[in-house]
Amino acid sequence: MTVFIPRSLQEATDLIAEHPDAHLLTGGTDLMVEVNFNHRRPEKVISLGKIEELHQVTINDDHVIIGAAVPYAQMEKGELGESLPALAEAARTVGSPQIRAAGSLGGNLGTCSPAGDSLPVLSATNSLVHLTSAGGTRMVPFSEFMIGPKRNSRQPHEIITAVTVPRTCGWQGYAKVGTRNAMVISVASACVVFHDDELRIALGSVGPTIIRCTDTENWYQSLASKKSTGVSLEIGSRASQESRPIDDHRSTADYRRHAIKVLAQRLFERGMSK
């Protein structure tokens, strides 16, 4: 046997303890690209897609727990989508409808690409990643989970089982630039969250990890008049300065810095107008 299909979390954690070298997959949309392009030849796979616990969604007043195998399609609308609007917007930009039917937060977190569409939302909402092993579950703030491009703090014996996404009491939104009107990988993305009088901004595809714009957030926090004209422009500029983009085949660092400026400003204005 080389593909294991556990039906329960218990079974899965036992398997992973026994086979720490196995690949974990949920929807498979990331791993199979690597296999198809001859970049990876898995010898052992633990498929988590049929574990009931990983498909559960719990919507509470102040937070939502989303199982790691819940597909993006389910986050786009309905009660889940309405309770987490920025995540719904991000989920809608993931790949194609077919990818959104298979892909999940577990995959986005496991892969931890800076271009992962859901990750800026998990960052800006101060989400917690649930990591479960035979020894129990620990909760890791997203900011401590993603530690580099395609690197995270999951231990080999741990499974990403769920994400706790705190609900916020103000507006939240997400925007992503790509050079096509659908099914496009992110060139730059941003999530803006208002919570009480707090502003949070997280950026995707413009650094080695998702970037939380803490300087910008603190600057905003210190403002006496948060609604004065020019604030949105300043937020755009400051967020842009916090980005650390590079030139690659998808775009240029200059454009990405510029796009972040525009996105942060527009999202802030969108939030202020609601």
Partner: protein
């Protein structure tokens, strides 16, 4: 254009439906990649990771140890000619001393499973001496250039000099235009199944290609076999767009089959496909137009530089097409044009829909807008003022004999309704940026732009081009045969329509498309409706003559007074009326017809000569919504009026128009193969972006029917024109929206907003 939905007889002029439609919607249609044979092996190709390197050694020993490997071949296993090519045979079947582009084939393996092939390829050890890649086409032909190929770096140089080269006018506008490398990106990647003859003396190959006979000719030379020992059958083709004009895996697959004595199937993955076929030439085009104060063109100066990549493919012909279309569909009495196609260590470039004219058109249409601005007239007015007409002389000295309804194309395009303004509560997916939710309605501005083009159809420069078709009439059933590649364009729909119209039959059987009949030429250059249509029309007419002679003999009539009316043979001077089924009952008429177009000539050293057969014209108007701050674009609507000669199948023509527009849109705003230091950076559909359903504009099309007396059925080819002037029209619309000069395509966000 309202499509007729009445299904009377599927004769010419009606929207006959595809005969392969049912199989295609059921998933039953056999594409070349769907083929399978008993005892079949898989083939795979090892390609160079370097754009320029000397092969020091190749060690196959470890690869041979991979269980399941049946054959490994390299250049030393090629029994015949080591190189191939469409115009010049300069491209190695397998690289044998030097690799000249990233992705160049070096070896191939056959094994029991695709994964075994991949492991075997990974086990082949090659030692390279890496050489500096020559990637700048200007440097390639500069004085200091070092040749990267024994044939030298200049693939072709050609100039055109016409009229008074000192002429000028009060308006002088100039621009340098950059066109990016576009990929044909057919969905069905390269694939073939080769089966060796029992005696090893021949091979049968099912392959997706544009030109069976040319493939066979090139394959036979490399395989060192007589052509008749290489039998090709068209495997179902998943799109072509020029990328299947050159051979790719044909020789490799055949060699592996011959070596192993077993059927071998090869199929490229998407990444390999990006390396496995030629692309549209990236080009730099400089143009300087001199015009009167009113905006009438006095003279054009131009310089074209096409990057041919490592091997010549069709670069020489692409260059000719580019420079001979410098003037566009406009009168131009004086011109001095020089053009170069140069060799580099970039990916080889060759045929793609539009074939050199796309590059010329992008430049001349940019220029037309600059003249309009300088003359203070509208983009439409400047185009109408200069519109070429039948009988005008081109800058090559060739008289434009084709029907040339350029003025009508422009006027009818301009008369098509504009889309309503973007509503204040526009659906979020209608805004540039789409589901990325990057913009609100207030951020968006709209622009309008125009493009008009002229496109030669058929091959040029003295090529004796022909197509062959056979028709058999028996018992009221026509059986037709041709080697015309069906790549999706619809010749398999059209050919039976021709037979029905000419012969008055309803039932038409189309035989297998293979090399068991004479060549049909290539499915390219918008030529098959004219060429293979002409051949089929000719064969059917000859059969009809035989039928009339037969009927006339029985009824003691002059065959010349007989005609076909619907499904009957009728006496135009009497009362005789016999159904064709009855008239052909128990007899069999068979005729084969070879259609040749009129001869063309080479250009002389000043670029003068009747080098083209015929021309088609089209106009496009683009409406775009742009987010100027982010540089994102949504193409809202394309209006077009196209000179089609005569509409033989409205639904098919509309399909060509809409499909061509989508490809031109791709080149305008998203499609580009990114090459850095000779390395392709985006060989995948994640990073080479094609238009999706949410990128497709509304298309409103008008088909201009002025039958061309030179064309066999009055009909011009319709495949290429739709994708040519739509690109400059969209870019003009973006310029119009944001008020910024943009002289490259595709337009990248940073070209708009930074």
């Amino acid at each position: 254009m309202v499509l007729t939905k009445t299904r009377q007889r599927d004769v010419l002029g009606h929207s006959a439906l595809r005969p392969d439609g049912t199989a295609k919607v059921k998933g039953d249609f056999a594409f070349s990649s769907d083929l399978w044979a008993e005892n079949m092996l898989w083939g795979a190709t090892l390609r160079s990771p370097h754009p320029h390197a000397r092969i020091v050694s190749i060690d196959l020993s470890k690869a041979w140890k991979v269980t399941g490997v049946e054959a490994i071949i390299t250049a030393s296993d090629v029994p015949g000619q080591l190189t191939y090519g469409l115009i010049s045979e300069d491209q190695p079947v397998f690289a044998f001393d030097v690799v000249r582009y990233m992705g160049e084939p070096i070896a191939a393996v056959a094994a029991d499973h695709p994964e075994t092939c991949r492991r075997a390829l990974a086990a082949i050890e090659i030692t390279y001496e890496i050489l500096p890649p020559l990637t700048d086409p200007e440097m390639s032909i500069g004085e200091q250039h070092i040749p990267i190929h024994p044939d030298g770096n200049l693939i072709r140089e050609q100039r055109i000099v016409r009229g008074d080269i000192t002429a000028t006018g009060p308006i002088v506008v100039e621009g340098t235009y950059i066109i990016g490398m576009q990929d044909q990106a057919f969905l069905g990647t390269e694939s073939a199944l080769a089966t060796p003859d029992h005696d090893g003396g021949g091979v049968e190959v099912y392959v997706a290609t544009q030109w069976l006979h040319e493939d066979r000719k090139q394959m036979a030379k490399c395989l060192n076999m007589p052509e008749e020992k290489v039998r090709l059958t068209l495997g179902g083709v998943g799109g072509a767009f020029g990328a299947r004009e050159d051979i790719s895996l044909q020789v490799h697959t055949s060699l592996l089959a011959l070596r192993t004595g077993r059927p071998v199937k090869m199929q490229y993955g998407r990444e390999e496909s990006f390396f496995g076929h030629v692309h549209r030439h990236p080009a730099k085009v400089w143009m300087k137009h001199h015009a009167t104060a009113e905006g009438e063109i006095v003279k054009i100066e131009a310089r074209f530089l096409f990057d041919g990549g490592a091997y010549s493919s069709t670069s020489a012909a692409v260059l000719l097409n580019g420079i001979t279309h410098t003037q566009g569909p406009y009168r131009c009495p004086n011109a001095i044009v020089e053009g170069f196609a140069s060799r580099t260590n970039n990916p080889p470039c060759g045929a793609m829909r539009g074939f050199g004219v796309v590059q010329a058109c992008f430049a001349h249409e940019g220029q037309m807008d600059k003249i309009a601005e300088a003359a203070g007239i509208s983009p439409v007015a400047v185009r109408l003022l200069n519109a070429i007409r039948t009988g005008d002389t081109l800058i090559t000295g060739q008289i434009l004999e084709s029907v040339a309804p350029v003025e009508r194309c422009i006027r009818e395009t301009d008369a098509l309704p504009l889309p309503p303004p973007l509503p204040t509560d526009a659906h979020e997916l209608l805004l540039p940026g789409g589901s990325g939710l990057t913009a609100d309605r207030r951020h968006i501005v709209r622009g309008i732009g125009y493009g008009v083009s002229i496109k030669n159809i058929m091959y040029s420069e003295g090529f004796d081009d022909y197509s062959t078709a056979r028709c058999i009439l028996k018992d009221g059933v026509a059986t037709i045969k041709f080697a015309t590649s069906e790549v999706g364009q619809g010749f398999v729909t059209l050919a039976p329509q021709i037979a029905r119209s000419v012969l008055g039959v309803d039932e038409v059987v189309t035989e297998t498309i293979d090399t068991q009949i004479g060549s049909a030429g290539s499915t390219s250059a918008s030529r098959q409706t004219w060429m293979s249509g002409g051949a089929m029309d000719g064969a059917c007419r000859m059969v009809r003559e035989r039928l009339f002679e037969h009927v006339a003999a029985i009824h003691k009539l002059d065959p010349l007074q007989l005609a076909i009316e619907n499904t009957d043979v009728v006496d135009t001077r009497g009362h005789l009326r016999i159904p064709v089924s009855e008239a052909s009952s128990g007899v069999r008429f068979e005729e084969t017809f070879e259609y040749h177009h009129r001869p063309t000539e080479d250009l002389d050293e000043n670029g003068q000569g009747n080098c083209h057969v015929a021309f088609a014209f089209v106009a496009h108007r683009a409406v775009v919504d742009v987010d100027p701050e982010l540089g994102l674009v949504k193409v809202v609507q394309i209006a077009t009026a196209q000179d089609v000669g005569r509409v033989l199948n409205p639904l098919s023509v509309l399909g060509q128009i809409e499909g061509g527009i989508a490809q031109g849109l791709g080149l305008a705003v998203m499609e580009e193969i990114i090459v850095q230091d000779g390395k392709v950076r985006n060989p995948s559909f994640t990073d080479y972006l094609l238009p999706t359903a949410l990128d497709a504009p509304t298309v409103i099309a008008s088909m201009i029917e002025e039958p061309d007396p030179q064309a066999p059925m009055g009909a011009k080819g319709v495949g290429e024109p739709p994708c040519i002037s739509v690109t400059p029209a969209i870019v003009a619309a973006i310029r119009n929206a944001v008020g910024k000069s943009i002289d490259r395509c595709p337009v990248r966000p940073q070209d708009i907003c930074l």
